[in-house]
Amino acid sequence: MLTVIKGGRVIDPGNLDDILDVVIEDGNIVEIKQDALAGNESKETKIIDASGKIVAPGLIDMHVHLRDPGYEYKETIETGSRAAAFGGFTAVCCMPNTNPVNDCRQVTEYILKKAVKADIVRVYPIAAISEGLKGDNLCEYGELKDAGAIALSDDGNPVMNSQLMRRALEYSSGFNLPVISHCEDFDLVSDGAMNEGAVATKMGLSGIPNAAESIMVLRDIALCELTGVPVHIAHVSTKESVRAIRDAKKRGVPVTAETAPHYFSLTDASIKDYNTNSKMNPPLRTEQDIEAICQGLVDGTIDVIATDHAPHSLIEKAVEFDRAANGIIGLETAVPLGLKLVEAGIIDITDLIEKMSKNPARILGLKIGLEIGKTADITIIDPEISYCIDANRFQSLSRNTPFDGWDVKGRAVLTMVGGKVVYQDN
């Protein structure tokens, strides 16, 4: 059976941008052209009307926490997959800080098995850099690669030991496993609970200086130069990190970087009244940092927008601010928040798709895109629809978002994985 996505603005960054039809057969893209149906109308064909909408290669969130195994009350692979589909993502990469930690074949295989069973979006497990995320020993990268791990990260924890980080980069390169670095200097963070500055001072909370992030970004850039092995910097939140990465890229250092929607949407002022749904790590920063992040998105310093989807229940969030868990959910708000940047004229829609699909695919070595012969992972976005974000409608098990009640414009209206519609807005 044929499926035709008809009359949408088909955007494949650097390749296509036109009003076209996309024809899908047996899960693959078989044709992309104008009036694909001409002369073929007699065939049994499923038509998806995409007029006025954007047809994009499937969005990839390369930084999520699915909490499964171990914290299934916050999220499972199934609910997280459904949240991804709802948000317009056809693939997610899940971080290893589960319980047990994804630092061995068994856990990687468990995640993949659960993902197949859920059968919603593609789930790519990211395995740990160090055993138990403890920063003492390397994990068995050969085994992990063989089991299906797509990348390595100790996300949630920094790799404080520079020698271990150096060896992790070198050793991982033998298996083509990209390394994703969570940059945080524990000593500088100390007991910090939010961004250091006037807001923290006024609220009586210990501050986390920007340098706690950028000092490790600079270290990882140095290790990247030393080893020649690419490093991907996770969740960039500060202007100093953006500057460091920009300078490194200019020198030809193979560093890439991501930021999350909250780092260009909110400042530390949103913690007012001790709102634990604005608590994350790295913390929300200032207007100057937002400006630098946006500039980094514009000039290509920041390659990727990933959500750092971090589900937590009320048990972790309805508590004293300094005791609350870090993180917010992001899968179901990323597209409208990204579209705000487009609406504001900071980046265009093509840039947004590039940073949410093309670039993460490139960094992870995934072969996807809106091209004939490729698998039909496709996201259809309605950029015009205005609505109010309602966390109660989320597919995620958790509700920890500071964006509940925000008036936004645009969202994914259809998500297709391998030719199968896994989410459709009614």
Partner: protein
Amino acid sequence: MELSRKDILDMESLSVDEITLILDTADKMREISERPIKKVPTLRGKTVVLFFYEPSTRTRTSFDIAAKRLSADSLSLSASTSSMVKGETLIDTGRNLEAMNPDVIVIRHTSAGAPHLLAKMLKSPVINAGDGMHAHPTQSLLDLMTVRENKGQISGIRIAIIGDISHSRVARSNSIGFTKMGADVVLAGPPTMIPKGIETLGVSVTHNMEEAICDADVIMMLRIQKERQQHFLFPSEREYSKIYGLTNAKLKKAKDDVLIMHPGPINRGVEIAYDVADGPYSIILDQVTNGVAVRMALLYLVTGGKRHADGD
């Protein structure tokens, strides 16, 4: 005039009129403590819960005495005697307390914002008796009362607060409280103890002790905590005391009618010399006395009191 708010959480949320009302009420309450029979029936039948998650002697005793002088029933709960050691959350503890119909909940907590969380969840009035490094409004109010009593006014006076500003809720609440009431606040201490952006509270900052002292009408010394040495905030008590400790020699640069305050507990010989703490300029014990009066005023006002206590 009546206090129209449910809770006393921080100095930021109180208006000048509200602060003035509290201080005026406290002035009247003070007299009760000077009577041979130190008790009025004003809050008879009211229950005041003193929920102290963080250890405290002075503040808890002060609230306890204040409640008793107004004939309220008070009971103390500490972290070790509450279910919090069994893993109960603050909200659950609060809801359980509320189910027993208290009239006021006084809370001290190690976490900034904990009283705000509790106040949002509960119908009972909540009084913040100190939350982390954030606020200590009843201390600030008693300090304002003490300065007003001794100087006749707060507006126009210059107060120097000296010590570990970073970790001090007293410094924060007094910076806001004194500035709001028209005083000039100067904060002093080593650069490691001055938090980023504190000037946004409308205060000035110096690292020079002499500069802080010389024009001050009031000098408030803060307790230095030895544990902070581990966080590299200062090298030794010896050096701290030499440079930032208040001694009679340093006081020679101060005004003739300067007043010395300290929120306690004091480290004699560290931030304040023995003879300065007991010296002629010290009003440290007046602060403690006024603490009871301020807390009586607050208990009275948050439970809906508007007539003078002695009219009952």
